[in-house]
Amino acid sequence: MDLLADFFRQIAEDHPRWNFIWMYEPVQQGKVLSGIWMTIELSIACLALSMVIGVVGAFAQGSRNLILRSLVQGYIQFFRNTPPYVQLLFFYFALGQFTPTYSPDGWLEVPIISNVGWAIISLSFFAGAFNIEIFRAGIEAVPESTREASESLGFSRKQTYRYVVLPLALRVSLPALNNNLVNLVKTTTQAFGIAVPELLYQSVTIWNDYPSALYPTMLLVFVVYVILVGVLVMSMSHWERSMRIPGYGV
């Protein structure tokens, strides 16, 4: 490992614009690793939460209750039609004022929802709004006759959704869902705006402190995202394959 560190030290010396500082300096390396980890955490939390929002929202959208339906519609319109960056700032600075806080020293007001918490909430709501629409498209693709068949077998609306419609709709929705989740992972960089120490935040910090590390660190960000999104896409298509029903045309 020392050899590798020396190698990169040498590169930094020979090429002043190519200082791979995080390859030989433990503090910067720590920043990169913690940034990558935070990005992974954010992504996983947002993926999970936005999927839940999608499934529940799509169910509520098909409800007979007008109020519930308009609520979901309002939610979708708001979160789909406004920029995620503005949502983040609004959630963190404006709504953050109204959440309960605790004070460790009598002055500081630490909100119970941290900036990481707000990032997860806001990004999940953003992606969730799209997920609802994606699932709705999937649900509408399930033939009315299939639904009628399950009703005639005595399934309730909830049971029909759970056991018949959703499993089929999910398969139809997967490609579109795939796209949206890939976008979600990339959108986590915007949490930078509310100082969430994810990969971009740490990278910008590094290249501000060491201007010579600008190009290598930008490259690193690209590479990490290519890998992260690659892993996501691979597992999604694996999931898609494993859920394939022979003979069902998707």
Binding site: R17, L33, N208, P211, V226
Partner: protein, 284 residues
Amino acid sequence: MMKKMLTSALILVLTSILAFAPLAASADGHACTNDVWNKVMSRGKIVVGVKADYKPWGYRDTSGDIIGMEIDMAKDVAMKMGVDLDLVAVQSSNRMQFLEQGKIDLMIATMSDRKDRREIVGIVGPNYYTSGTNIMSPKALGLTDWEDLRGKPVCGKQGAFYNQIVEERYGAEIIAFTGNAEAKQALRDKKCIAWVYDDSSIGSDLSSGEWEEFEMPLNSEDDNPWALAVPSKERDCVFGRFMSGMQYQWHQDGTLIELEKKWGIKPTRYLADYQERLGDWLAD
């Protein structure tokens, strides 16, 4: 898993070095071509990168125009060159890149003069200003020592070199925002116990009357001169020499001290010393 990922990242990155390194190496020729200088003269317009969120050095007035001490300096530069002035608002975190990529011809943007920055952009002396690092914190907390910041959340701004110093020397937990406005809002919202920044800027914030319950309680540290910059290729050519001359003259004839007064900045010893040192021996 992480180790493995870092290794694969490394391999990709290495391949790209091989592709890019020759480009990087060919960049440092020594002959003066004065490209940027000639471009500015033939275009009849100089594009200067300044701050738009750093009162009173560079900020927006109520009609949205950028004004301030550094803008007055930029105006003087344009006047002496006989060209029009175009101002571009830059951030601490992108100002050097703007200059490198030719989006701006000259940068006068409250930048601290650091060794590693001199390798990227063409910094020329004599430095026109200086400031140290201090914090703005609520009077209620009664902070007295830098050590009081240890383990506490402290708001900062992305791109300031002392974030790292305060973090490493005093163990503060820096929460760095992209802009001053967000960081100061976070302080008002009590999300951090202090806002770490240039003492000069904090001083003018405090005197603006909008920060009654706050103070600048510590002794300033890491006093660091500010630098303007031309593109690095032009540092030892016409443009760099010209900007050295501008700064020398500003010091000698007291322009900087006048500007300091005009913009309500607390007079600094630094400028007074400089004027004394560079003073014209024949002047009365």
